[in-house]
């Protein structure tokens, strides 16, 4: 009977506080459902075939950890607000043990509701998530509906642990205070917050420093600098939101003609308190929004760059076979014809049409810090001049003009010692080009001003390339001799051999198998002809297989976006509810002094707008710089379409802002209800 009483108290407690518990329960349920889904995905056989990270198994734990963290803090915040209620129980003669029984039942009831809702929600949404993931990764989608008992068990246990911790924390919060302070906990006379100018300035300087870093970092330190600047932005957001906004309000307050205006007067004075109490909350909203936007931007970035990168790598032909062969004689012997025949026969056997066939011999290599000294490319490095501009990789490809003629159907000729330079994203405006190894060897070419229609030649997406046509393969070989002397790591970068490129033309479903078989086939050729090396690349392979892992990460990040969004909603909602209760009293007083509903609404609007839109504005600023940062990572002439990347980021930011506004509108209704409700009495 006794226990029944506590159970009743617990049910009443939740009911009475439904305004704050319903969102909490809903959020817990959604988190439960997401944990369940992630765990089920790990168990799914069709997912297991294609996934990398989900299979690894740690992801459900990571997600559960974050969910637990959010719920833990939310609950401790809610209990703090309910201290008065518990204080009243205490004053009425319940001891802390009795109160803890009520708390226990409350936690138990909430947990039960969360598990039921969570499993139902998880079950309903699981198929959606699985279908989405499989279609992203290209797995086989089946349409069976199953409840994973494994996943239900695991999630239920994890949430039990989370709620036990939450319960223990509530006990800790209750037991460290006496009855009177519990009753009075909301009525402390509040000091006006002190503005800490030094902190504010430090925050601002940190932010400026972080932004500058994104603008100025170059070369190898770029990734490192960007990482630091992200951390700095988060830290400074908190510092600025907490300290300098109070500072700004105080400055406004000092400006008497500005301050003593009907709409500024009330706004500014209560803003100071509001910001102080909510600085951390607002900063969290800002950081979460920024993270959401950053994930979206990164996703856009990857999809955009992937496509661009592939366009670079496969300028025309979707399939490449690259044969490396160091035996110079073989390049002249006609092995290329053998390879060509094998490839074409193989395609024919598989009913695949080959189009746009291209074949050439070349020497290609990379150089770091474009070792140009005057007009000399000196691979020894001794005379290399390193200026900032030259601080990047360059790719070189030396092709005999006869191979150009063969492919383009032209009849161009070059004399010995003459060269034509085609620049792909690189710049070279000298009259001659020399290859040297120290002072010992030197091969100089005079650059001829000959207009050749460019061959569609691949290049790495972010590395500029110089294509040099020379009179014949012999001269190419000479350059290779010079370059290969620099030895060491660079040696590996030199490839000397044949390039075969063509478009395969067959139905989509056949492409996948054909590519796989083609790879096998090239190894066969490699073995038969005893070549030094062979590489097959294919556009579809790169697009659908090599980028699969990134896509899986993106899929997982959707869960985090949802989680972050939920936290933002929760922070907003609770801010509105509790501020509503605090302000209701205040507006009641003001109404008696002589302020109309319309004026109240106006003042409230301007306050809420400012407090809620400050994070959005700062998020916008962060987004501008993160976009600049991403653009600077691309930093390549291969990528020209900054405008559409920026456009997409801007669009996604606008969508996010609209979503945020809707969230604001909905939650501010709660606020007006509370404020208006008290006024009626």
């Amino acid at each position: 009977m006794k226990l029944g009483f506590y159970l009743k108290c617990a049910i009443e407690g939740i009911k009475k506080n439904r305004k704050i518990y319903i969102p909490y329960i809903l959020m817990s349920s959604v988190m439960f459902a997401m944990c369940y889904i992630i765990y089920s995905l790990k168990d799914s056989e069709s997912v297991a075939k294609v996934s990398l990270f989900i299979n690894a198994g740690f992801f459900p734990w990571v997600f559960a950890f974050f969910s637990g963290l959010v719920l833990f803090y939310t609950n401790s915040f809610l209990i703090k607000r309910r201290k008065k209620e518990f204080g009243l129980y205490n004053v009425l003669g319940m001891n802390k043990f009795n109160i803890s029984k009520i708390l226990f039942f409350e936690t138990l009831i909430i947990l039960a509701i969360v598990i039921i809702f969570g499993i139902i929600g998880g079950f309903l949404l699981y198929k959606l998530a699985e279908t989405l993931l499989l279609s992203m990764l290209g797995g086989n989608i089946d349409y069976q509906l199953i409840v994973s008992s494994n996943a239900s068990m695991w999630t239920a246990i994890v949430f039990c642990i989370i709620f036990v911790l939450i319960f223990l924390n509530s006990l800790r919060q209750i037991s460290f205070s006496n009855a009177i302070s519990l009753v009075k906990s909301e009525n402390f006379g509040e000091k006006p917050p002190k503005s800490n100018i030094i902190f504010g300035i430090i925050g601002l300087l940190l932010l400026i420093f972080a932004y500058t870093l994104t603008l100025t970092a170059t070369g190898y330190t770029m990734g490192y600098s960007f990482f630091i600047s992200i951390i700095l932005v988060i830290v400074s957001t908190y510092i600025i939101m907490i300290s300098s906004s109070v500072f700004i309000c105080k400055i406004l307050k000092k400006n008497k003609p500005y301050y003593y205006k009907p709409n500024h007067f009330i706004s500014i004075s209560s803003m100071i308190y509001r910001i102080k109490r909510n600085g951390a909350g607002l900063a969290s909203i800002c950081v979460l929004l920024t993270m959401i936007q950053f994930i979206i931007s990164t996703y856009m970035f990857v999809t955009f760059v992937t496509d661009d990168m592939l366009k670079c790598q496969y300028p025309q032909q979707n399939t490449q076979v690259r044969v490396t062969e160091e035996n110079y004689e073989r390049l002249l012997s006609g092995d290329n014809i053998k390879i060509k025949r094998e490839l074409l026969n193989f395609a024919g056997e598989n009913d695949v049409n080959v189009k746009n066939y291209l074949e050439y011999r070349s020497v290609s290599f990379h150089s770091y810090s474009m070792p140009i000294y005057g007009n000399k490319i000196n691979m020894s490095g001794e005379k290399a001049s390193y200026s900032d501009d030259e601080h990047k990789f360059i790719q070189w490809e030396i092709i005999p003009i006869e191979d150009y003629n063969k492919n383009m159907g032209t009849n161009e000729t070059l004399n010995h010692g003459e060269a034509v330079v085609h620049m792909l994203g690189a710049e070279y405006d000298k009259d001659t080009v020399s290859f040297a190894w120290g002072d010992e060897q030197e091969k100089t070419f005079k650059i001829v001003d000959k207009q050749l229609e460019p061959m569609k030649i691949d290049r790495s997406w972010y590395i500029p390339k110089l294509v040099i046509f020379v009179s014949d393969i012999k001269e190419a070989k000479e350059i290779e001799n010079i370059i290969s002397r620099c030895g060491g790591g660079n040696q590996e970068l030199i490839s000397y051999g044949f390039q075969f490129r063509f478009d395969i033309d067959c139905p989509d479903d056949k492409t996948k198998d054909f590519i796989k078989n083609l790879r096998e086939k090239t190894y066969e050729i490699y073995d038969n002809l005893k070549l030094k090396g062979i590489i097959t690349n294919n556009y579809y392979q790169s697009k659908y297989v090599d980028f699969k892992d990134i896509k899986e990460l993106l899929f997982l990040s959707i869960f985090f976006i949802i989680l972050f969004m939920l936290v933002v909603i929760l922070i907003m909602y609770y801010k509105q509810v509790f501020e509503g209760y605090e302000d209701a009293n205040r507006f009641d007083i003001m109404k008696k002094v002589g302020i109309s509903k319309r004026e109240i609404k106006k003042s409230v609007n301007s306050q809420l707008l400012l407090t809620f839109f400050a994070p959005l504005i700062l998020t916008g600023l962060h987004t501008i710089f993160s976009t600049i940062m991403l653009c600077r990572i691309i930093n390549s002439d291969a990528y020209h379409d900054y405008a559409s990347f920026v456009f997409v980021v801007a669009t996604s930011f606008i969508l996010l802002s609209i979503l945020y506004c809707i969230m604001y509108k909905v939650t501010s209704k709660v606020y007006y209800n509370i404020v208006g409700g008290v006024n009626k009495n």
Partner: protein, 253 residues
């Protein structure tokens, strides 16, 4: 000329679903002359606060009307009402009703700021009042930093800074210790002598004895009234006290 006229005021509260009806005011009639200091007395539940709320236009009567300075306040719309209240009525409450986010000075300025006054004008108005109420030194403090008496004096300053036609006071001494209460009552008397019309609701005989006229309200009606005339505070105190005893024993006047 009477500054406030109350005619056949009636207020009926009904529960939300129109169930029980409670008649808070049945038929209230009285008028207030300029410069008067009136106390309205009655037990709790007698309809004092309802009356005051209607007079201050915080609540609407079921029937009857209130005419303040020749204007029927039930006819003023909600948006104009706030402005009207700000300009014509000062309010002093039992629990001070100061805003905790403002300094005392800003609390006092609140109605003026809402009327769009300049800082210099407001400061000019505040200086003599602050001196009179002896709150000059604490103007920059926040409500939680000062005593109850000081808070109430600041509230009085807020009520009179707009130079209102009428000051309403709802149990102004209710939350004060006796010393602060006495001080506040003397202050009211002083303000009244300077020409301010005051209407105070109270159930403290002591408070009422400072007034120039006392109205007794019972069961939603003005039941009786007595004038101070040339009586001393002490003599008037006894008169009021006797009246209450009579009323409490159910006697008819």
């Amino acid at each position: 000329m009477s500054i406030l006229e109350v005619n056949q005021l009636k207020k009926i509260y009904s529960t939300r679903f129109g169930g029980n009806q409670v008649e808070a005011l049945t038929d209230v009639n009285f008028s207030v002359e300029e410069g008067e200091y009136i106390a309205i007395m009655g037990e709790s539940g007698s309809g004092k606060t309802t009356l005051l709320n209607i007079l201050a236009a915080l609540d609407r009567p079921t029937s009857g009307n209130v005419v303040l300075d020749g204007k029927n306040i039930s006819k003023i719309g909600e948006s104009k009402m706030a402005n009207f209240r700000r300009k014509n009525i000062g309010f002093v409450f039992q629990d001070f009703n100061l805003l905790d986010t403002f300094t005392l000075e800003d609390n006092i300025f609140l109605p003026l700021v809402l009327s769009g006054k300049k800082y210099r004008d407001m400061k000019g108005r505040l200086n003599p009042i602050a001196k009179e109420l002896r709150i000059e030194d604490i103007l920059k403090k926040y409500p939680y930093e000062v005593s109850g008496g000081q808070k109430q004096r600041a509230a009085v300053a807020r009520a009179i800074i707009t130079d209102p036609k009428l000051v309403f006071a709802d149990e102004p001494t209710g939350a004060l210790d006796s010393k602060s209460a006495d001080e506040l009552l003397r202050l009211f008397a002083k303000i009244n002598r300077l020409g301010q019309t005051i209407l105070m609701v109270t159930h403290s005989v002591k408070s009422a004895s400072f007034a120039s006229r006392v109205l007794f309200i019972r069961d939603g009606k003005i039941f009786h009234q007595i004038y101070k005339g040339n009586d001393t505070d002490l003599r008037f105190y006894e008169k009021i006290s006797d009246t209450i005893t009579l009323l409490a024993s159910g006697g008819e006047m």
